[in-house]
């Protein structure tokens, strides 16, 4: 079982790395979804897998009678899923806003915050000072 999960994690990571190498930010996000689930599986597998042994303790007893499932990794994965969900929702909203504002999802074309060398220095300072929309058009 561990081997199967290990291979699955490997496949997920490979697929997500491939997606994340894309310049398209949306594909990057899909890669992020996959790799965060791969990380969750790593925790889950790292906590050892047990079949059909719920971690229940008899009334009055202080320790489980025999080997039972490890409950902690499940709690960790649950936390990680919730956090990951929130972050991904934010990231998706951000990419959508960026798409509507910048008109692109290609990370190579997102050069507003760091304009390429030529455009930053070429425009004379006074012209850019008076006509900021020119600089913006140049950036687009």
């Amino acid at each position: 079982m561990e081997q199967i999960l290990a291979i699955l994690i490997g496949v997920l990571v490979a697929a997500s790395v491939w997606l994340m190498l894309s310049r398209n930010v949306v594909r990057f996000l899909f890669g992020l979804v996959l790799i965060s689930n791969a990380a969750n599986l790593v925790i889950f597998t790292g906590g050892r897998l047990t079949l059909g042994a719920p971690p229940l303790i008899d009334e009055g007893a202080e320790a489980p009678p025999a080997l039972v499932a490890n409950a902690l990794p499940q709690a960790l994965v649950l936390t990680a899923i919730v956090i990951g969900f929130g972050l991904l929702a934010f990231a998706l909203a951000l990419v959508f806003r960026a798409y509507t504002a910048l008109g692109t999802v290609d990370s190579d074309e997102m050069r507003l915050a760091e304009p390429p060398e030529g455009e930053e220095g070429a425009a004379p300072a006074s012209r850019r000072a008076t006509t900021p929309h020119l600089a913006r058009e140049a950036a687009e």
Partner: protein, 513 residues
């Protein structure tokens, strides 16, 4: 005992709630200031306690370590919490005049306090998974702050910041999972005991590398720093100041914690990598800064180069080097946050942060010029300011360790820092304003002037105090470094004396075999 540890966490969260509920009124800003002041008081109490009693630990929810979540404060954690509170207070006061009403209505103050809570939590936790959670708290708040207002530059920088940080977070999480799989524990003190006993030390090194990369992204190490200069010059100035002061330092803190407490088995390998990474971080950061022509972009690249000094201290792993790293960490937070605050006032007075378009500040606002010179010279390492002692200790440690190349790099980077600072000085302060403005501080409304200049002056005074009377601070850093190098006190406090003693006995038995 645990209330001393949990109150610095509770205060920012409660303040955040209060700020959120009052976000439509001007009260929110004042609540944020009051909350930050309270946090400073609470952190002072924590510091006093740690100074008096050594490491203190609290088991949350009454679960005994290593099963529950532990909050721990040793000297390093305590000083980081104090410095976080100082920065929070300075920035909260500054925000009274810096943050626009629109951003306030969007919940700036609440997000800011959540960010402070995340940072404080990351410094105080003694549990690896809990550290992950605090990182996330900090991250999501910083995401919000970064894009608050939603200008096109902010969205552009935000995308790079968010995506790269998410990748590092996932690496961190996978590292936590693998480490848990190997040791069955997440408590850092317990990890310090169990990790050296693992048979498969090679796998430990692999996991150590995952942590190094994950924290390296947060700390903006070479070659993982690209998100920082892409984003830090876009948000409101108070946001950049708190980011510059605190966020990368959390990464540095996490690196120091993990690579002095847990991953000390194969220092030959891991710390040598850190050593060279530190060198490249210093050099690329300062060269990047030299190429920039924008006040905030220059400062952003200097964050990167200064991080290199701290990591150099950690990588050398001698007592003196750790002293240097701790001292540098404290000094740098104050100075860097202050420089960003100054850049905000310069922007307010002259209308831009692009050096080609501003000028004349020295003639018309000499007070601001002096307040710029103090942190700028401190950053570059002029005696007698705090940066001089920080650099002196780190360079001395690298000379002692016979790391000649890195010592030389550290000195050259210091000289190039002077180049960048004089560039800002010459362009923004010395030369006349290209459009003939005479930007004066008194042009600002009295309330804004007070709110903007007071925190800058206070932080500058702090820089001078550390610089002129470094002795107590260095002594403190020495004590803190001693705790980091020999974590037995930390382990004993967290796990209880019995467990630590037992571990020591087992280790002694193993050594005899």
């Amino acid at each position: 005992m645990s209330w001393v540890l949990s109150i610095p966490l509770a205060i920012p969260f409660l303040t955040a709630v209060a700020c959120y509920l009052t976000r439509d009124t001007p009260r929110a800003a004042w609540i944020s200031v009051a909350g930050s002041a309270l946090l400073l008081a609470a952190s002072a109490v924590l510091m006093a306690q740690v100074l008096a009693e050594g490491v203190i630990a609290g088991q949350m929810g009454g679960w005994r370590a290593p099963f529950g979540i532990t909050l721990v404060a040793d000297l390093l954690s305590a000083v980081m919490v104090v410095i976080t509170a100082i920065t929070a207070l300075a920035v909260a006061v500054y925000a009274l005049a810096d943050v626009s009403a629109v951003q306030e209505r969007m919940g700036y103050h609440a997000l800011f306090q959540v960010l402070i809570a995340g940072v404080t939590g990351a410094f105080l936790t003694g549990d690896l998974f809990n550290l992950y959670v605090w990182f996330e708290v900090m991250l999501i708040a910083s995401f919000g702050l970064l894009v608050l207002g939603g200008t096109r530059e902010q969205l552009d920088g935000g995308i790079k910041y968010v995506t790269l940080n998410l990748v590092s977070t996932i690496l961190f999480l996978s590292g936590v999972g693998l480490l848990y799989g190997m040791t069955g524990t997440l408590n850092m003190a317990d990890l310090a005991v169990t990790v050296p006993r693992l048979e498969n030390q090679a796998l430990v090194t692999v996991v150590a590398m995952m942590f190094m990369i994950a924290f390296g992204v947060k700390a903006a190490l070479f070659p993982l720093f690209f998100w920082l200069p892409a984003a830090y010059h876009t948000p409101a100035f108070s946001v950049s100041a708190v980011f510059a002061g605190l966020l990368t330092k959390v990464g540095v803190y996490a690196l120091i914690r993990m690579f002095t407490l847990v991953f000390t088995g194969d220092t030959e390998f891991t710390h040598t990598i850190l050593l060279w990474v530190a060198g490249f971080t210093m050099v690329t950061g300062v060269l990047g800064a030299a190429a920039q022509q924008d006040f905030r972009k220059i400062l952003s690249f200097h964050i990167v180069s200064q991080i290199g000094y701290m990591i150099l201290g950690l990588a050398l792993l001698t007592p003196l080097a750790i002293v240097g790293a701790v001292f540098y960490l404290v000094h740098h937070i104050i100075v860097k946050a202050n420089l960003f605050l100054v850049s905000g006032v310069a922007n307010r007075l002259t209308g831009s942060t692009e050096l080609g378009r501003i000028g004349g500040l020295y003639a018309s606002a000499p007070l601001l010029a002096v307040l710029f010179l103090i942190p700028a010279f401190s950053l570059a390492g002029f005696p007698p300011l705090s940066g001089f002692w920080a650099k002196y200790v780190v360079v001395k440690a690298s000379l002692d360790a016979e790391a000649w190349v890195l010592a030389a790099a550290a000195l050259v980077v210091g000289a190039l820092t002077i180049y960048s600072m004089t560039k800002i000085w010459a362009e923004a302060f010395w030369k006349p304003h290209p459009e003939g403005h005479a930007p004066v501080l008194s042009a600002l409304p009295a309330r804004d002037r007070l709110a903007l200049v007071t925190p800058i002056a206070a932080l500058a005074v702090l820089t001078c105090v550390i610089g002129l009377a470094p002795e107590p601070f260095v002594q403190f850093a020495e004590r803190s470094a001693a705790q980091l190098i020999d974590p037995s006190d930390y382990v004993a406090t967290v796990l209880g004396a019995d467990a630590a003693e037992g571990a020591a006995r087992i280790a002694a038995l193993e050594a005899r075999e």
